[in-house]
C-alpha cells in the first residue's frame, strides 16, 4: 500500500504534463490532490504498521534478474517516520507555492517528481533501487532552482547538482564494491547487511559511502552547497530541500553506510562526530553574521543537521532515536522558517536584506508572518515544548554517553543558535525603526488562506511532537529494534 505514495506522485506528474498550460487552477488542484493523497497513504501506512514488526515488506519482485536486482520496497519505523515527514512537507510546500504564476504545470510536475523520488528512497530496501530513486530526486531539484529560483539561481542550482553527483558517484563506488565482495548475488540491503565485509575494506569504504550521502545532509566541510542552494531555490523548493532532501542524505548515511560497514563506522565515528559538532557551532556562528534573511535559515539548517549526524555517531539507542526525531523535527521547523522568509516576506517585500527589512516595520504590516516566525524561531532554538527540544535533548544524552566533550561544545552551538534567532527576529520583524522613505509605497498584501493553513499545519506538528513525542518515538524505536540494526548498535559499543 505504501508504494502508492510513489505511484501517486508520478501519476500526478503524468496528469500535469497532459494538462493544458493555461489552466493554472487545474494544475494547482492536481498537485495538491496528489500530495494530499500521498499524505493520506503515508498516514494509513503508519497506522497499519504493527509496532515491533521490524521491516514490513511491501513488494519484492525480480527486476533485473541477471544482476539479481529486485524491486524491493519495504518500510520500518525509521522510513515510516520520514515518509510521514515527506507527506506533510509536500502538502505544505504546495500551499506555499499557490502564488506561482510562471509555467505552473511544469513547476508542479517537477515538484511531484521530486516528492516521488524522495518517497522512493525512503521505501527502497534494494540498494540499486534506492540509488535510482536518489538520482531521480536530483534532477527535478536542479530544474526547480534553475527555472523558478531567485538570487544567483544558476550558480546555486549547478553547485547543488555537482555536489549531489559527486556524492552519488562516491556512493555508487561503495555500493558496487559491497556488491562484488559479497559474492555479486544480491543488492538487497537486508542480505548485504548480514555479510561481514573485511575490516580493511570497511575502513576505506565506510567514509566513502557515508560522506557520499552526508554531503546532502550538510556535513561540514561539504555543506557549502546548502546555503547557496537554499537561497537560490523558490520557497517550496527550499522547504523541500531543507525539509526533506537533506534528510535523504542523513537517511542514506544511516541506512546504507552505517548498516553495511559497522567496523568502518567504529573506526571513523569519532572523526565524524567531531565534524558534526564543528557543523553545529560553525553553522550557528555563520548564521549570526548573515545580512540576507534566507542565508540565516540556510546556515541554521547546517547547524541543525549537525545534531542529526552527531546523534547517529553516538551509536546509543537514545542518540540514534534523537537523530531520527531531529530529522523529522528539523524538516518541519525549517519548512516553517523558509515559508516565512521566502513566501510571506520575500514575495511581498522583494528584498531579503535584513537592513532593508528593518525599516519596514513588518510586525505591524504582516502580523501573522511575525507570529509564525516567532513560533518557528522558538522551535528552532530548541525551546522546550517544541519538537526540536526533545530531539536535541536525546541527541545530547547520547552524546554525553559517547563523547562528553563534544556534548559541551554542542551546547555552544545551542547558545549561538539562540543568539542568531533573536537577532533575526529583531531585525526582520520587530526593529520598530521607521525609514524616512517608505520602501514600498503600497501596503503589503495580507497573508493568504493557503499560507495560513500551511503555517498552521507546521506549527501544530512541531508543538504536538514537542509535547507528546511518544507518538513518533515508538515508531522510531521499533525501527532500531529490528535485526537489521542489531549489528550497528553492537558494533558501536567500545
Amino acid at each position: 500500500m505504501l508504494a502508492w505514495t510513489i505511484y501517486i506522485s508520478f501519476i500526478g506528474v503524468a496528469v500535469l504534463i497532459l494538462l493544458p498550460a493555461e489552466n493554472k487552477k487545474a494544475a494547482r488542484a492536481v498537485a495538491l490532490f496528489s500530495a494530499l493523497a500521498g499524505l493520506a497513504v503515508a498516514f494509513a501506512g503508519v497506522f497499519q504498521y504493527k509496532l515491533g514488526s521490524g521491516i514490513a515488506d511491501i513488494t519484492n519482485t525480480p527486476w533485473i534478474p541477471s544482476l539479481s536486482i529486485h524491486y524491493h520496497l519495504a518500510a520500518d519505523g525509521i522510513s515510516l517516520t520520514l515518509v510521514l515527514l515527506t507527506g506533510i512537507a509536500a502538502v505544505v510546500g504546495i500551499l506555499f507555492s499557490w502564488n506561482i504564476e510562471t509555467r505552473v504545470k511544469e513547476f508542479f510536475a517537477f515538484y511531484l517528481a521530486l516528492i516521488g523520488g524522495v518517497y522512493g528512497v525512503f521505501l527502497s530496501f534494494d540498494l540499486f533501487l534506492l540509488f535510482v530513486f536518489y538520482e531521480l530526486a536530483i534532477i527535478p531539484k536542479y530544474f526547480l532552482i534553475a527555472i523558478w529560483g531567485s538570487t544567483n539561481r544558476e550558480y546555486g542550482a549547478m553547485k547543488l547538482a555537482l555536489y549531489s553527483f559527486v556524492g552519488s558517484a562516491m556512493v555508487l563506488v561503495g555500493l558496487i564494491a559491497a556488491y562484488v565482495l559479497a559474492g555479486a548475488h544480491t543488492f538487497d540491503l537486508v542480505e548485504l547487511a548480514k555479510f561481514s565485509f573485511p575490516k580493511a575494506m570497511q575502513f576505506w569504504m565506510f567514509p566513502f559511502v557515508f560522506v557520499g550521502f552526508a554531503i546532502l545532509a550538510g556535513l561540514w566541510p561539504f555543506h557549502t552547497w546548502a546555503p547557496t542552494g537554499h537561497v537560490a531555490a523558490p520557497t517550496a523548493a527550499s522547504m523541500l530541500l531543507a525539509g526533506v532532501v537533506m534528510k535523504l542524505g542523513a537517511y542514506g548515511s544511516l541506512r546504507v553506510a552505517m548498516t553495511l560497514f559497522p567496523d568502518g563506522l567504529a573506526a571513523w565515528r569519532g572523526v565524524i562526530a567531531a565534524l558534526a559538532v564543528v557543523g553545529i557551532v560553525y553553522g550557528a556562528m555563520v548564521a549570526l553574521v548573515q545580512k540576507d534573511f534566507k542565508f540565516v535559515i540556510g546556515y541554521s539548517s547546517v547547524s541543525h543537521m549537525g545534531f542529526v549526524l552527531l546523534g547517529l555517531m553516538t551509536l546509543t539507542s537514545i542518540g540514534l532515536n534523537g537523530a531520527v526525531l531531529q530529522m523529522f523535527s528539523h524538516g518541519i521547523i525549517a519548512g516553517l522558517l523558509f515559508a516565512v522568509v521566502g513566501r510571506m516576506v520575500y514575495d511581498r517585500t522583494h528584498t531579503r536584506e535584513l537592513s532593508e527589512l528593518q525599516g519596514m516595520n513588518l510586525s505591524k504590516a504582516i502580523p501573522f508572518a511575525a507570529f509564525t516566525f516567532v513560533i518557528g524561531g522558538l522551535a528552532s532554538m530548541g525551546l522546550p515544548g517544541f519538537s526540536g527540544f526533545v530531539a536535541e535533548l536525546q541527541v545530547l544524552i547520547g552524546a554525553w554517553r559517547a563523547f562528553p566533550a563534544l556534548a559541551i561544545l554542542a551546547g555552544i552551538g545551542i547558545v549561538v543558535g539562540v543568539a542568531y534567532i533573536i537577532r533575526t527576529i529583531q531585525k526582520s520583524f520587530f526593529s520598530g525603526m521607521q525609514l524616512s522613505v517608505a520602501p514600498t509605497s503600497h501596503p503589503l498584501e495580507t497573508i493568504s488562506v493557503p499560507e495560513r493553513i500551511g503555517a498552521a499545519i507546521l506549527m501544530a506538528t512541531t508543538l504536538l511532537i514537542g509535547l507528546y513525542p511518544t507518538l513518533l518515538m515508538k515508531l522510531i524505536q521499533s525501527g532500531f529494534d529490528s535485526p537489521l540494526m542489531a549489528r550497528l548498535l553492537k558494533g558501536g559499543t567500545p
Partner: protein, 517 residues
Amino acid sequence: MNGFPFITILTLVPIFGAIVVAGLDSQKKSLARLLALGFSFVSLLLAIVLWRNFDAGSSALQFVERHEWIPSIGVQYFVGVDGLGFLMVLLSAIIVPFALLVSWKIDDKPHIYFALMLFLQAGLFGAFTALNFFHWFIFWEMGLVPAYFLIKLWGGPERVRAATQFFIYTLLGSVTMLIAFVAIFLVADTFDFIKLGEVGRNGGITALFATKPHWQAVSASTLGLIIFFGVFLGFAVKVPLIPFHTWLPNAYTEAPTGVSMVLTGVMSKMGVYGFIRILMPLFPDQMRSLLTPLLWLAVATIVFSAFAAFAQRDLKRMIAYSSINHLGYCLLGIFAALKLTGPGAQWPIEKAAALNGVLLQMFNHGLSASALFCFIGFIEQRGGVRGLNDFGGLRKVAPVFCGLMGISLFASLGLPGLNGFIGEFLIFKGAFPLASWATSLSVIGLLVTAVFLLTILQRVFSGPLEAKWAGFSDLNLTERLIVLPVVALIFVLGVYPQFILQFINPTVVKMVTQFAS
C-alpha cells in the same frame, strides 16, 4: 479532593485565558483587559481553594498527579506542591492580578500585552509545581518568551537592548543547566526531582559518576563539580547572584511597570526556588565543599547591590538593585543552612530558622518589591520622570500616596511590624551561628539599604515642594483600591507571620532532617 487534577487546571486556566484574550479583536480593548483580569482572578480563586484544601501539618507533596509521558527518557507528567511550591503558587496568583490592574492604561495592543501576561503566569505556575526536569524546563523557558516580548514591545527607550540581554543571559544559563541535567540523567537514570534528591542523600552524584568507566579521563569529583556549575549558573543568573546580575537592572528598568512587578515579584523567585528544590538536595557535597566561596558570593551580592542602589539616580533602578540585595539574603540563608560541621551537632533549629526565613523573605519581597514598582509607576505616570532628584515635598500634595509608599519602603527595609522584618530576622538569627563572618558582613548591606530607602522617602516626599509639582495628584480611589490588598498583606504578615509559617514549617523541618543525614 484527591484525584482531582487541581494543579493541571491551575496551570491551564491562564494558558486558556491567554489564547482567548489574544484571539480578541484588537479594537476591543476594555474587553481584553476585563477578560484577562477575570482569568487571573479565577487563578487566584483556585489558589485560595488549593490553600483551603492544603494540609498545613504535612510535609508531604500534595495534590500529586503523575502520568507517564515519554517513558523512553524517563519523563513523567509529575506535579505536586509542598509548602515551598504552594507558597510560590500563592505569590504568583496574588502578584499577577495586581500587575494586570496596574497595567490597565496600556493602550497599544492591550489584547496581546494581557495575553502575554497570562502566558507568563502559566509559566510561573508550571515552574513551581512541576517535579520532573523535562516538564519543569518547559515552563522555566516558557516564562522567558512572554517576558522578552513584554519588555521588547512595551518597554522604555532602551528596551531592545534590555530585552535581548535578559533573554541571552537567562538562556545561556538554561543551556548549561540543560547540558548538566543530561549528564545527570545519564548516571541517575531519572529526571524526577524527588528521586534526584534521594540520589543526593545517598552518596551524591559523585558516587554515580565514579561508576562510569569511560569518563575516567576526568575524576568523578571534578565531573561532579562541572555538572554542579552547569546547574548553578542557570539559577545564579535567574536570581541573580553578583557577578551574573548585569542583565537585571536594565531589564527591570526598561520593562513596563506591570512587567517589572511580575519579574521581580515572582520570576526572580524561580531562581531561589531552584536553589532550594534542585541544587540543595542534589548537590549537597559540592555546595558544602564550596561553602566559603558561595557565602562570599552571597555577601558580595548583598553588599555591592546595596551600594549600587545607593549610587543610582533613577528610582526604578534603585529598586531593581535593592531586589538583588533582598534576594541575596535568601541565598545567605540557604548557604548557611548547608553547613554540617562545627560544634553543636547539626544545629537543626538554626537551620530551620534560616530556611523558614528564606521562604518568608521570598514571599515578602514579592509583595513589597512589586508594590514599590507599582508606586514608581504611578509617580512616572503623573510626572513623566522618575529621577531621585526630580521631585520633592510631594507629601504635602499627595499624603496618601506618601503614606502607602512609605509603608512599602519601610517594609522593604525591614521595619519590625511590617512583613520584611520577620523574614530577614529569621535569616540572620539562623545564619549567624552557622556562618558568623558572612552574616556579620551582610549587616553592612542591611544598613546601606536602610539609608537608600530612606533617601527615597526624603528626596521625593519631604523638603520644599517645587511649584511645578503643585498639581501632583494624590492616589485616586481606583489606585487606592489596587494597592490596598497588598499593603494590607504587608501589615498582616508583619504582625502575624504564622499565617505563612504554619504551612511552610513542616516542609522546612523535613528538609533540615534530610540534610542532616
